[in-house]
């Protein structure tokens, strides 16, 4: 039976092993990886370890650290071998060179990327599909206010009586004690009904029949019933994702 200390220690060592494995397997710039924190952590874990299994696991961490340090040394050697030049000498070389020599050095080493900013057939096809799918609504000269009448006009709500639906939802909210989680209130078996309920609810909120309380830390959104005469003094809008 492992003690609490042993269990925590074992978990921490395992986590460290996974982190180091992750570093080894990734194609990142190994020179940018800072191992100080990991070595400090290992020292702490090792001093807390007093059974053979823990010490054995710590040796696994040491082995991985050694691999990373070896890779770092190799990368550093490689980089310095290729690119190390004395800053003072470089400055002298730069100051001693004329514009043409410097430009020639660049030109001889430059293989510019070839690319074009043009409209191509693929983009045209994509844009045509997009263009034909957008509704006329977006292009009206004077942008009409989003209200029930307009939604009905663009056939969004043509099959249901929105005011009845608002009334129904208001009663539903009342039945649930005047406060309910947003997602529970719009809960439905199929997605189209769920979205319809979300739209109805948005109108209910717009008309001031309900309000929203957000709990960002818990990721919860509550809908609260209001008296029907209540008008929103500080109107604001925010997005809720319907899953």
């Amino acid at each position: 039976m492992l003690s609490d200390r042993e269990t925590t220690n074992k978990k921490e060592i395992q986590k460290l092993i996974e982190e180091l494995d992750n570093i080894i397997s990734k194609e990142e710039n190994i020179l940018e990886i800072n191992l100080d924190e990991k070595i400090r952590k290992l020292a702490e874990l090792l001093s807390n370890s007093n059974n053979l299994e823990e010490i054995n696991n710590c040796s696994e961490v040491i082995q991985r650290l050694a691999v990373i340090i070896f890779e770092k040394t190799k990368a550093l050697k490689n980089r310095s071998g290729i690119l190390y030049i004395d800053p003072f000498l470089t400055k002298l070389a730069i100051l001693g060179s004329d514009v043409e020599k410097l430009s020639r050095a660049f030109i001889q080493s430059w293989r510019p990327v070839v690319g074009r900013d043009v409209i191509n057939p693929f983009l045209l096809k994509e844009s045509m599909t997009y263009w034909s799918n957008i509704t006329k609504y977006s292009f009206e000269e004077e942008r009409e206010e989003r209200n029930v009448e307009n939604e009905v006009k663009i056939n969004f709500l043509s099959e249901r009586e929105i005011s009845e639906e608002i009334e129904k939802m208001y009663e539903e909210l009342e039945k649930r004690g005047g406060k309910e989680l947003y997602e529970k209130l719009i809960e439905s078996e199929n997605l189209s009904d769920k979205i319809f309920k979300a739209v109805v609810l948005s109108f209910m909120i717009t008309y001031g029949y309900a309000g929203i309380i957000r709990e960002p830390l818990k990721g919860k959104v509550w809908v609260v019933k209001k008296e029907k005469t209540t008008e929103s003094k500080n109107p604001e809008s925010f997005v809720i994702v319907v899953k």
């Binding site: 194609e27 990142e28 690119l83 410097l102 030109i107 080493s109």
Partner: protein, 180 residues
């Protein structure tokens, strides 16, 4: 079958030639998504074709290392693929490159200085070196232009080499030429 392969070849050329992001080039995973699992084979074929025109496909990892098409997808997935000029340009080609000789010389000075300072230096230092041959206002303007074009990158208080220098410039060669 042949028609399908030609279609893929055309698509690959479109993806590589036409800029679809802010920066040119396209990631390996995007190419795989658009061309299928055998995207490296399609790119090898494209490479053969464009090679006759003096162009090549260049693959650069996030850290600036050059890669080849024979590497596994896990390595290529996050690399950026470009089409670039294969052979060195001449000084007369500068006229069509959109850069003046002063600007190119200034960029060379910046690149060499950054390399000699182990990969990073301050804006002030670069301005000071450029100002030895150019008016101060021009040095400041040029530095901003290099950063905008992606040849240099400004990170907090330092200036480092940008993605474009890493992808387009043979750093070993440039140093060799400066000291020659």
């Amino acid at each position: 079958m042949e028609e399908e392969s030609t279609k893929k070849l055309r698509r690959a050329a479109q993806l590589l030639f036409f800029k679809s992001h802010r920066n040119p080039g396209i990631k390996g995973w995007e190419l795989r998504k658009a061309l299928g699992q055998d995207y490296t084979k399609v790119l090898k074929k494209l490479e053969e074709r464009i090679s006759e025109l003096g162009l090549t496909i260049k693959i650069v990892s996030d850290s600036g290392e050059l890669k080849t098409l024979s590497e596994p997808h896990e390595v290529l997935s996050n690399c950026r693929f470009f089409i670039s000029i294969k052979d060195p340009l001449t000084i007369t080609d500068l006229r069509t490159s959109g850069w003046s000789i002063d600007e190119i010389a200034g960029l060379t000075v910046c690149i060499a200085t950054i390399i000699s300072k182990e990969g990073k230096t301050t804006r002030q230092e670069l301005e000071q070196i450029l100002s030895q041959k150019l008016p101060k206002w021009k040095a400041t303007r040029l530095l901003s232009k290099y950063v905008r074009a992606g040849y240099l990158d400004e990170k907090e208080d330092y200036i480092i080499l940008g993605w474009r220098t890493k992808s387009e410039v043979d750093l070993e060669n440039i140093i060799k030429y400066i000291f020659s």
